[in-house]
Subunit: 158 residues, 2 copies
Amino acid sequence: MTETTTPKIAADDPVLETAFGQEMVRQMRAIDAYGSTDNQSAAEILEPFVLTKEEKRELPIVGDPDEIVIARIQVFYNAIAALIEQECGRMAVPLVNLTHEGFGRVLITVGKLVVLDRSLRDVHRFGFPSLGKMKDEADKHLSIAIELVGEHSDVAGL
Amino acid sequence: MTETTTPKIAADDPVLETAFGQEMVRQMRAIDAYGSTDNQSAAEILEPFVLTKEEKRELPIVGDPDEIVIARIQVFYNAIAALIEQECGRMAVPLVNLTHEGFGRVLITVGKLVVLDRSLRDVHRFGFPSLGKMKDEADKHLSIAIELVGEHSDVAGL
């Protein structure tokens, strides 16, 4: 873990109070088997998701994603799935499939309906310019998913 | 590779002539980067998919699936996806997600419709009692998938 002098997420960032922010923290704590985040604030726990332009520039263009990055991607899509579930009242199941080379595909299904389907690439560079941008992306996926469930509730109920 | 005295698949097994049998051979050749199956017959290429009761009994209950077994599972579901595609005229995309411990989930999607969704376990013991039983299982998945596409063609067309 690298120490940064100015935190990339302010302790009072309003995103931390949203359902998405709280779900992200919950998911991060859920995968933390050794309690290493026990004494961390929400802002500290989510800080690894924020990659500034400068940090991104320093990462190699091609690289193998390590386990921590893969876990973070899982957390992000797990959180989206949890919010879909809360909004539509049906189980949403995420499936993250990554190759060693950092390519992959993410699906979230509700019943027999695919509500999110994304190709991933450059997984080792996973991160967002800010916490707000991360929430924007999650919100976009969430609203598309909820709309799909509404339009095809028969398939979502299968 | 282990040598067997009596082949587990007869050279004139009628399954080898079916669309499924031919697709399985095509998929096996497709992943064979070194041409090691070039001189093998269809029956020989598909032989590893047949596990007799005795062979299964000799396998450990718990084990890590090796790359060859994982490739075979991919081939089996790729073949099913290819047949779905041929029958319904729409792209069918398989997604096989396995953990190191031999558990996993397989999905095949057509548009935004999930036409196959299976949990896998004991992946290192993947195999069928006979070539005919393997085709029966594929046919079952195929007919369910085609029925789903027929019932929900709007979602399959998304």
